[in-house]
Symmetry: C2
Subunit: 219 residues, 2 copies
């Protein structure tokens, strides 16, 4: 029937019989989060997470089918930290507020934007956020696909902002270095002009940009 593996949240956490497991899925999630917060995403190895729990590396496979599951659990755990305020009646403003909540979580967990962008995952907590977004869109016309599209793009746009702001700060710096070089050669007048502006990029207003994007998307 299904040629893809079931998501971890559809698989039973522990067996009913036999020796009971000493650790739980939330405990493992917490350990992975701690490792990632401390050392970044690529410190999240099976052995490191196991060491955080004080266990052997192979034991994790009793709780999780591989590293991918670990990352999925982390994403959804983070989604649980998104603040969901009651709707005010203005869909755009309320969606921007959700975006701010997402951004705040991504600021706390600098590894999150990358995961949100490359492996969009829906777990229990993310479903709660999705449900909230659907509530904000209740009075708005549009089919199921377009509503899901709003949700996906809200996530992606905020993650893009957060990634450039906090997660990979040296990458924009590298791009800027190359841009400066191109500007110096003078072969691209528009780029030269771009970098001769008054202030050297005074931190663009993400909130305003997100509001404009959502306004357009809901028009």
């Amino acid at each position: 029937m299904a040629d893809y593996d079931e998501p971890i949240w559809l698989r039973p956490e522990r067996a009913a019989t036999g020796r009971p497991a000493v650790r739980s899925r939330p405990e493992i999630t917490a350990a992975a989060l701690a490792v990632a917060d401390r050392g970044g995403l690529d410190m999240v190895s099976m052995r490191n997470v196991a060491a955080e729990l004080g266990t052997g590396g192979a034991s994790l496979y009793r709780y999780v089918s591989g590293r991918g599951d670990l990352l999925d659990l982390m994403v959804d755990a983070a989604a649980g930290g998104v603040e969901l305020r009651p709707p005010t009646g203005d869909p755009v403003a309320d969606l921007v507020a959700v975006g701010e909540g997402l951004y705040a979580v991504m600021r706390r967990h600098r590894w999150l934007p990358e995961l949100v962008l490359t492996r969009p995952t829906l777990g229990p907590n993310a479903v709660e956020v999705l449900d909230h977004v659907l509530a904000l869109l209740a009075d708005h016309p549009g089919d199921a696909g377009s509503r899901l599209e709003v949700f996906a793009l809200l996530n992606a746009v905020v993650a893009t902002f957060a990634l450039n702001d906090h997660a990979a700060p040296d990458r924009p710096a590298r791009a800027a270095a190359y841009l400066a070089h191109v500007a110096a050669t003078g072969d691209h007048p528009r780029i030269t002009a771009l970098l001769d502006g008054p202030a050297p990029a005074p931190a663009p207003d993400h909130r305003a940009a997100l509001a404009k994007i959502l306004t357009g998307l809901l028009a």
Copy 2:
């Protein structure tokens, strides 16, 4: 002065003296592209790319400072395949056209969306695209930051579409499976209603969504 490494395009390709290198940066880029097109991103290992060239694995480090450089070269090479048509005068329509060009390239190279999203990189070819976008925005008010923001978001939005459509098709399927489960429980009426729509998501219109986003962003 700079605490980040220079991008590869600012480093000289080959030394002026000594034994001349037998291969070139474009050759290595082409080999990496071939490996990635054939087997996906995580087949792009130093040893695999070297084998594609018929050389030893360690030789690559004469041309590239590490795997990251390889990925940067791949992204920029792909950017060289984006079709840039002359402006028609309608900024939104012209930006959508650029988006279509990006999407077409990402369809050809299924590994590209992930790289575009997680390691935004500016090389010579990408600068050409940026320059084109700046030309489209020439008559439009806005400071340097907002122009770069338009460019970054255009890339990110298209990459998000392409990722969900082609690059990781089993991931949306997994999310859909979990969503169906949540809908079946009935705890989230809005989600249950969402999946009871007429057609089961008849492929959302990316072009229209992108046009709306850009319209809002440029408003």
